[in-house]
């Protein structure tokens, strides 16, 4: 399936884009998606070590599966306030 991954802060700067689009197998988990992005987008490789992932606006973890038509976002540890 085709997925779009929204990027924020350092990840957006390093990718030079607000999002990535990629083709992934059905039922891929978050950990594998991070690995895939590290391989396909070398400028993001280092970021994948401490990236936070959200699926449908909730935090998701390596073992979580990516549902169809999910809103996926990746970003660094937060620094608001």
């Amino acid at each position: 399936m085709n997925v779009k991954v929204l990027l924020f802060a350092t990840l957006r700067d390093r990718a030079g884009s607000k999002f990535l689009e990629l083709e992934i197998p059905d039922a891929m988990n978050v950990g594998d998606l991070k690995h895939r992005i590290a391989t396909d987008f070398p400028t993001l490789r280092e970021s994948m070590n401490s990236v936070l992932v959200a699926i449908n606006r909730e935090y998701a973890f390596d073992e979580g599966l990516i549902p169809v038509n999910a809103e996926i976002a990746m970003f660094p540890p937060v620094s608001g306030g």
């Binding site: 929204l6 924020f8 802060a9 350092t10 700067d13 401490s50 936070l52 959200a54 606006r57 909730e58 935090y59 973890f61 976002a73 970003f75 660094p76 540890p77 937060v78 620094s79 608001g80 306030g81």
Partner: protein, 152 residues
């Protein structure tokens, strides 16, 4: 009274008086307000100068997580009545309020101080907002410290 929760991510100036009035009623006798500001000078060994901070949010998720923080406050301090969580985004200069957490209740000994403290701590841990610091020597994203707290 009804328990009002006010959640906002805004480009506009944070009006502390207006927000306070929105979370108080005739039953309110106390409110604890925390606001964070842009610090222009930071002494940590050497002096660091900030010209401005550029804030950005993943807005729809940030609003959801701020609602979650407000719910956590309500569970921990059930006597808190009004809760306001406001994060300003965009280019913000020194002395500008960037965030406000306010908790109101009938009396001061209801946990309002602790609730506001919890609100800002939790916001800084889990709400998807980032800031880039711009100074005379260039710009740098401020790295968040909280990676493992997310699983709580």
């Amino acid at each position: 009274m009804s328990k009002l929760t006010l959640i906002e991510i805004t480009q506009d100036e944070i009006d502390l008086d207006a927000l306070l009035s929105r979370i108080t009623s005739v039953n309110t006798g106390a409110a604890a307000i925390f606001t964070g500001l842009v610090r222009g000078f930071t002494q940590n060994g050497r002096q660091n100068v900030t010209e401005y901070l550029e804030y950005e949010a993943y807005q729809p998720m940030a609003e959801e997580i701020m609602k979650q923080v407000a719910e956590e406050i309500r569970i921990k301090w059930p006597d808190v009545e009004g809760i306001a969580l406001v994060q300003r985004v965009g280019r913000l200069f020194p002395q500008t309020p960037t965030v406000m957490i306010a908790c109101s209740a009938a009396h001061r000994n209801t946990g309002v101080f602790e609730a506001a403290r919890y609100g800002i701590d939790r916001l800084k841990e889990i709400v998807p907002v980032w800031k880039k610091e711009v100074g005379p020597n260039g710009e740098a994203w401020v790295e968040g410290e909280h990676f493992h707290e997310i699983r709580k």
